[in-house]
């Protein structure tokens, strides 16, 4: 190739064939294409049921009479008159509040253990993750046996160590605790199982947050003379707070809207002592056949959850920007 031709080639701007630019470069089109599956998913599996629920809540639809008649807020008035509803609402807040505090605290402690450097840490990580990987129905059934009114191994251990079963023992002279039969113990049991189930997830999220903190910061604090608790509360916790807040939000909504543990362990009993809004909605709407009331109960928490989600997400944003 002569020098002249080389110079010419260099001067002419090379235009790529139009076909090669057409598809991959149209980011607008691509964006829509890639977003479509999730949009469809949300519309079909979240949007439609949500609209349906609103529709049902304002109607007199029942399993026996599916014809749609608009009744306004009558369903809401009726559930407000029902003491079980208020009991369920209270239980929901107790269940969620106590669970979340325990899950966040235990999750942080477990996360600290998991990031520590010691021999055999892989087996600890494995054991911590185990509850999360077990299907909830399966593990709840295992717990059902653990908490059985007669054959509970926990009771057996308590009897062996002399806390239960004989007159004057600390936990009483009866041969069993009836974990799921006593109102207070039933709630404690349900909370324990739920905490047991969700803590691993919280721990893993917190661990990710902890590992994202540069090691330098912790070391700088040590050189600056800060002890363990000051480092924990002034350096580590503020820096994992955004992550922890998102984990807590997720956990809260999950706990508010989950009835698996309650359903398997107590089915809301004894005498509605562990009834939460979701299980009550299911009981009224599906088991009891009053679809309108079930929908009204289920929708009751929606505005509260929405407000809480927005508040937490905004707080997290402010923390990150600030």
């Amino acid at each position: 190739m002569s020098a002249v031709r080389e110079a010419e080639v260099a001067r002419t701007p090379v235009r790529l064939p139009a076909a090669r630019r057409r598809f991959a470069d149209r980011e607008g089109t691509l964006a829509w294409l890639f977003l479509m599956p999730s949009v469809v998913y949300i519309l079909v599996l979240v949007g439609v049921p949500f609209v349906l629920a609103i529709g049902f809540a304002l109607s007199d639809v029942t399993a026996g009479d599916p014809s749609y008649d608009y009744v306004g807020l009558r369903n809401f008035r009726r559930i407000f008159d029902d003491p079980v509803f208020w009991r369920s609402l209270g239980n929901t807040f107790i269940f969620t509040g106590v669970s979340m505090v325990l899950i966040v605290v235990l999750g942080k402690v477990l996360a600290n253990i998991m990031i520590a450097n010691f021999k055999g840490k892989w087996i600890v990580r494995f054991l911590v993750l185990l509850p999360w990987t077990t299907p909830v129905t399966l593990s709840s059934i295992a717990w059902l046996w653990m908490l059985d009114s007669i054959y509970s191994p926990i009771d057996w251990v308590l009897r062996q160590v002399g806390l239960l079963g004989k007159p004057g023992d600390l936990l009483g002279s009866g041969s069993n605790m009836y974990w799921l039969g006593e109102p207070g113990l039933a709630m404690a049991s349900v909370i324990t199982v739920h905490v047991w189930r969700l803590t691993p997830l919280a721990a893993v999220i917190m661990m990710a947050g902890l590992m994202a903190i540069p090691r330098d910061l912790e070391e700088a604090a040590r050189v600056d003379g800060a002890g363990y608790w000051r480092r924990m509360f002034e350096v580590t916790i503020p820096l994992v707070l955004p992550v922890a807040a998102v984990a807590a939000l997720f956990g809260t909504i999950f706990t508010f809207t989950d009835m698996a543990v309650v359903d398997v362990l107590t089915n809301g009993g004894p005498n509605n002592a562990t009834q939460v809004l979701t299980s009550w909605a299911f009981f009224r709407g599906i088991d009891g056949g009053d679809v309108g009331q079930g929908a009204a109960i289920a929708l009751f928490l929606f505005p509260i959850l929405l407000a809480a989600a927005i508040a937490i997400l905004r707080a997290v944003r402010r923390m990150e920007v600030g």
């Binding site: 700088a220 050189v223 600056d224 003379g225 002034e234 820096l239």
Partner: protein
Amino acid sequence: MAAEAPDLRPGRTVVEVRGLVKEYDGGIGRRARGRGGVRAIDGVDLVTEEGEYLVLLGPSGCGKTTLLRTIAGLEQPTAGDVLINGQVVTGLPPRARKIAMVFQSYALYPHKTVLANIVFPLRAAGMARPERERKARWAAELLGIEHLLGRKPRALSGGERQRVALARALVREPDVFLLDEPLSNLDAKLRASARDELKRFQQDVGTTTIYVTHDQVEAMGLGDRIAVLSAGKVRQVGKPMEVYDDPADTFVATFIGSPPMNLVPRDDQLVGFRPEHLLPESAFAASVDREKVPLAVDRIEYLSGDRHIYGTVTGIGKPTRVVSRLPATVDTPVTAGETYDFAVARDRLRFFSAETGLRI
């Protein structure tokens, strides 16, 4: 601070390390493959004096950071002792050592304001609020960052962050500053002025400083003394001029200086001389006792007024490629492809053992 410390006695040792060894076990993978640990520090003895600026200089991976962290108490030595003010502090946590450290990343607390960053060590020490605010303002004024006190670290430039980190180190009034490559995150232009500031700052406060760097220009410019490290061992400790003019071995000779010292094999020795001492015959006064060497020039570079002349010398020992640096004041014409008569003053020659690399 110098004024507040009445027992300022030049010659008093502040930091001393004795026979320090630090071995990392290298993790499971390494152990499984049957390899031992990494010896990051391999028997280091060092002493600093009150008010001294000691620079640890060495290539990347030679153990400088590990040595500094061991002095700080962030790592426990495998063997040996660390002494601060004559007391053995091996095994004590960092906060019991009266040291302050500036990390390579500065490690400012990102969620705290500059003021909160600076007072953090004072709060940890339990100082009352008015007292610590006064201290923080004093440090901020000294470093010219009063106008930044309300900001968060992410709103600061690299140079400002460095000053905040220094202020945070300063307020504790430590016995020694430990600085780990504090300039390496700054761009080249800022680095020169920050180096200047660091030196003036240290002269103002007069606190003993151990400064880690891999940059020989920083080391030569800042250090009262330089400790040259390689592979976990101290090769030489001395004033910048001593380290440059009288290197203890071939590692120091070739690590320091740009271009490095020329080494020419002769029998079982290596003959060393600096590029700026290899000059054309005509540049010497007649009385100077010198060794004549013919230089076959093959390449010439012009660098900031100097001429770097690359060629092969014969006559000293085996024919070897060397560099000569001619300052602008030597205007003898030199062209590539020719052979010229060059010379080195005899008192500029340094001799090393070819076997051990040590100075003879």
